[in-house]
Amino acid sequence: MNRIDLRFKELKDKGEKALVGFVVCGDPSPEKSFELLVAMCEAGLDILELGVPFSDPTADGPVIQRGAARALTGGSNLAAAIDMTRSLRERTNVPIILFSYYNPIFVYGADAFYRNALGAGTDGVLVVDLPFEESEELAGGWKNDDGFALIRLVAPTTPRERMAAIAGNASGFLYLISKAGVTGGGDLDIDGIKDQAAILRSITGTPLCVGFGISTPEIAGTLSPFVDGVVIGSAFEKTIEDYRHHGNLADRLAEQVRQFKNAIK
């Protein structure tokens, strides 16, 4: 059993929901990034989604776009994210998944990526622009017994038959995209999300996490009863952006982690 599966089992036993936190690797700078990630993990993050910055993030809203741009300016990339995992593993046992667009992984090489990411202590990957039709070329050569997860996404536009096909291939957890749109704030159709979560529940036993546009602990608390976890990204990135020149950024992020975690318990 890998760290992701273990974590969901522990949380289930405690009757808790998972707080999945997304942060761009290398934002606002390579050195600060490590300190922030450690602080967030120690504050109670259940799963870390480490964002690999990409020059053309077509699924992201302005907040994460700017975070990725800052990270790229500081020299961050996929190799840096794998190195970051290795460093984090000396400090934390929190499950770490990489969140990436496909091109950086494709250029790195599917096999080298799998070997190095796994070797560094990464537990899986989520590739936002790699639908299951195209994913064989990435994951076809992976061994199932290593427990390296390929996290699959389900969107509000995904029809039921397709949900079943996606869920049938899922490992780690299923990522339910909360709204048709890019990452970041926006009106969520809470009833729509509930309905889709219920359908997915009836199809699969894989843990279900909801993300995109969950900007406050209140919204996270409203959604958490219907899923196994919530993913927070832009809210953390906004804090990094607003307080990146302040000395207490790590404390602020840690406090934000505790607020979100309390709201979904």
Binding site: T157, A180, V182
Partner: protein
């Protein structure tokens, strides 16, 4: 290669190219659908609709009618007598896409896609644009069908292609400035994709090139293939034989693919001309097929200008329509098969060709098309007088007058810093 090997290679290429893309939208190792899950159902729906609706005789009839009475097709194939005499080599024929309604080939595709979207019940269309020609053509088709239209355009391109911004606005489109990245075509396409994710249920995205996720490279090619079909008939009718060379500029590659595709099985040479910008050695260019590596951008796998970490580089060209670090996947396949040859010319060479055509034929070409002409300036004098070259004059140059006049002014003022 002896003759039988050549024939063998030709027939092999013919059988490959005729059946592409495959069921899942791949051209060999290229193409595919690399998009967020939110868009996948829309792409699958579009593919089904395309395959079901476009073969319908009433669709074809309506499209034919619009192409002839609204777009003004067939466009002429014009023998450029004075240009030919000036260069002193092969005979040059111009496929006059600049004479199509809105002044470029882009309208062939937008009319087709708007008609399809209309039949699919979509009320809104969006588009990305670089030079503004695709934006204008989309705004035009949207007005014709009574659809709402939003066009995403980089801030740098808004500046350098101002007349087209005004045209789009007059046609009722909402032009959305995009300031991320270098503020050019790539960034406009990013923003259009982001917008589409949130509006996908009632909005059709009119991609303007043979790029993007399946089915776009196939669909745009098919709508643009009218260029090559007409050129083939015209050249056979007037000369009784096929040309020896087809020449077209390549940014994303829609005008080139439209001209090339009906000739893929024929024994003639296909030349795609990319933008070398300030020179390949300067690093400031848009020669994706010449200098790019395999990657995934905007939904398909193809050659891409990128760094060693898979980050996309900014392209550079005086021509906004060629200023793109990606290229259509079918071109990548044709390059690898050796079926088409891809070369590049610099900004300066394109400008020289621009002036030459103005002076010899009384035609002001788009800066994009001037790249294809620049290849002719360099190579046609070396070709035999019996050979025939067909150049796709993909657009007219009215939109570029400001760029030209600024360059002229700078030249008169002397070198920078003086």
């Amino acid at each position: 290669m002896n003759e039988s090997e050549l024939v063998d290679k030709q027939s092999k290429i013919k059988s490959i190219t005729n059946t592409m893309p495959d069921e899942s939208g791949h051209f060999g190792i290229y193409g595919g659908r690399y998009v967020a899950e939110t868009l996948m159902p829309a792409l699958l729906e579009l593919e089904i609709a395309y395959k079901k609706i476009t073969p319908d005789p009433t669709f074809q009839e309506e499209l034919r009618d619009l192409l002839s009475h609204y777009v003004g097709r067939p466009t002429p194939l014009f023998f450029a007598r004075r240009l030919t005499a000036h260069l002193g080599g092969a005979r040059i024929y111009l496929k006059r896409e600049d004479l199509a309604h809105t002044g470029a080939h882009k309208i062939n595709n937008t009319i087709g896609q708007a008609l399809l979207a209309h039949r699919m019940g979509k009320q809104k269309v969006i588009a990305e644009t670089g030079a503004g020609q695709h934006g204008v053509a989309t705004a035009t088709a949207a007005a014709l069908f009574g659809m709402e239209c939003k066009v995403f355009m980089g801030v740098e391109d808004i500046e350098r292609q101002a007349p087209n911004v005004l045209r789009m606005e007059l046609l009722g489109a909402d032009v959305v400035p995009v300031s991320s990245g270098s503020g050019t075509l790539k960034d406009a396409m990013n923003e259009a994709m982001r917008h589409w994710v949130s509006t996908v249920t009632d909005t059709h995205y009119v991609i303007g090139s043979v790029a993007g996720p399946h089915p776009y490279p196939m669909m745009v090619r098919d709508f643009q293939a009218i260029i090559g079909k007409e050129a083939r008939e015209q050249v056979l009718a007037s000369l009784g034989r096929l040309p020896d060379y087809l020449v077209a500029c390549v940014g994303g590659g829609s005008n080139a693919m439209g001209l090339f595709h009906p000739f893929l099985g024929d024994a003639l040479e296909l030349i795609g001309v990319e933008a070398a910008g300030e020179g390949i050695a300067s690093g400031r260019h848009a020669a994706t097929l010449g200098k790019g590596t395999l990657g995934v951008l905007h939904g398909s796998k193809s050659y891409v200008l990128q760094d060693g970490h898979g980050q996309i580089r900014e392209a550079h060209s005086i021509s906004a329509g060629l200023d793109y670090p990606g290229v259509g996947p079918e071109h990548s396949m044709l390059k690898d098969l050796g079926r088409a040859r891809y070369v590049s010319v610099t900004d300066e060479e394109a400008l020289e060709a621009f002036h030459l055509l103005c002076g010899t034929e009384g035609i002001i070409p788009a800066l994009e098309s001037a790249h294809a002409l620049a290849w002719c300036m360099k190579e046609v004098p070396k070709l035999s007088k019996d050979s025939i070259v067909v150049v796709n004059l993909s657009g007219r140059g009215d939109k570029d007058l400001q760029i030209i006049s600024n360059r002229e002014k700078k030249k008169k003022e002397g070198p920078a810093g003086a």
